[in-house]
Amino acid sequence: MSKSISVKFDGVSKRYGDVVALDQVSFEIGAGEVFGYIGPNGAGKTTTMKILVGLIPSFGGSVFVNGHDVRAKESGLHRVLGYLPQEAGFQEWRTVDSVLRTLGRLSGLSQQELNERIPQVLDLTRLSDVRYKRVVHLSGGTIQKVRLAQAILHDPGLIVLDEPMSELDPETRHQVRVMIRDMANKGTTVFLSSHILSDVQDIADRIGVLNHGHMLKVGTPDELQSHFQVGNVVEVILNRGSHPLPSFESVDGIERVEEMASNRTLIHMTHQSNVDATMGLILRMLVQSGCQVRNLNLIRPSLEEVYLRFVGGEP
């Protein structure tokens, strides 16, 4: 199997008794793409990922990796797969080196390859200092880095990361984001779930939104914002003593006006409005009214706002 790996979920369903974990979920991940996967707790993200990596052998529908059904023995998936589970422990006796050595051997790396690759991965994940320490004695964030290190050790063509940023400090999260983008630039396909929506927004080419086992929408961050009909916001800050703002309430393309403290006003556009035309209109009205404008900003809704609007709950 080549480095360029594509994934296709076709009508995938999974039930646990009466509970529907996934219901006819279909989407594709292109070769070399970073695909973000978001949804609230219990949406079915981890179930989707476990089906892809083969940990859930029984499910409805089909999953293909480069056109091969993952249930077929000849799919070859496990030779090119890197997986970071949401939670995975290590035996008490294991050191970081032992984790990488054993899992690397099982991934098909020779001792010589491991001798070269382990220091590189430890350096990349900044784990060199704890190489010979027992994993159970490390902090949660460092253990998460060990999980990440084992996932990328064999330079997989497809990497599945279930909540990779959890337990990481801001600096390490930034490093991991950079690392993921670098891998994608080298042709690795990345399937990534996260509750930290800004992380997904920053690095994903496309995003799938899952809720209660249903795939609500797949698209680029811009497409999601457009699809979920969250309008843009114009922030106006006036100088002290300026003329008051004119009335925008009846203007086409404006949904509502929100007065804030310190001469600050937020003008919410409707989702259908033409951003440039409405901005121009606002600017003209401000000038005509003699307002002394200190600041005028267009604020695009963040993915988090889109997400909360759509799934209706906390991430």
Binding site: K50, V53, G54, L55, I56, P57, S58, H78, R79, L81, Y83, P85, E87, A88, G89, F90, Q91, E92, W93, R94, S98, T102, L103, R105, L106, S107, G108, R147, Q150
Partner: protein, 223 residues
């Protein structure tokens, strides 16, 4: 090849976590202690050789020991989701099970051999007549090794499908005690019957049955 890698890894784990030390030093030490202490309570044992005491002691605790140690470790590792990182690699689920079984069984067999060898060496040194009890010793060891194999396989089955370490330990102790009786059934009907053939056959059949059943169920189970 994968089974070999996993087997070596399990053995490394036993070594690093001092399981080997406990079994290979602790078990012989225990039997020697029993040999010298038990006659204080049971005067009839004064004439028994150490080798014989070793063989009956191991026969009594070998099955449950194997069962509890293996099932508890499997349940604990399953609960910590240790196996996920193994099974997303080109590793058959059957390899994982066979490696665990083989490593534990190897440790117990080695512990038995060391214990027995220690007993024989000390007997020779003391001039005790263990040769006269040789048949009983061999019988006891064969029965024990057979029971250990069955208990290990049963423990893998229990470990894979019970979620609580405590429950797995309790079920394993009962199971281990029952399994050790299987090769001795002929003696229940005929005290002069030789338990060795049945021990070998039942050991092979029941062990294989347990392992095949575990592999089948594990292959169809979500991790």
């Amino acid at each position: 090849m994968t089974v070999g890698l996993l087997y070596a890894d399990e053995m490394r784990g036993f070594y690093k976590s001092y399981v080997m030390l406990a079994l290979w030093v602790g078990l012989p030490a225990l039997t020697i202690a029993i040999h010298f202490l038990q006659p204080l309570i049971e005067p009839a044992m004064r004439d028994w050789s150490l080798s014989y005491v070793v063989s009956i002691t191991i026969a009594g605790i070998g099955g449950p020991l194997a069962s509890v140690s293996l099932s508890a470790s499997i349940v604990s590792e399953r609960n910590q989701k240790v196996y996920e990182l193994f099974l997303i690699r080109p590793v058959r689920r059957s390899s994982l099970i066979l490696a665990k079984f083989a490593a534990t069984y190897t440790c117990l067999v080695v512990a038995t051999v060391i214990s027995l060898a220690s007993g024989m060496v000390i007997d020779s040194w003391l001039g005790a007549p263990f040769e006269s009890l040789w048949n009983e010793i061999v019988t006891s060891v064969v029965v024990t090794l057979s029971a250990m194999a069955m208990a290990c396989a049963g423990a893998v089955l229990i470990g894979m499908f019970v979620s609580s370490v405590a429950l797995a330990s309790i079920v394993s102790i009962f199971g281990g005690e029952i399994l050790i009786l299987v090769p001795m059934l002929p003696n229940y009907f005929d005290p002069s019957a030789d338990p060795v053939p049945l021990a070998i056959v039942s050991g092979l059949v029941i062990t294989s049955l347990f392992l095949v059943l575990t592999i089948y169920l594990f292959n169809h189970r979500q991790i």
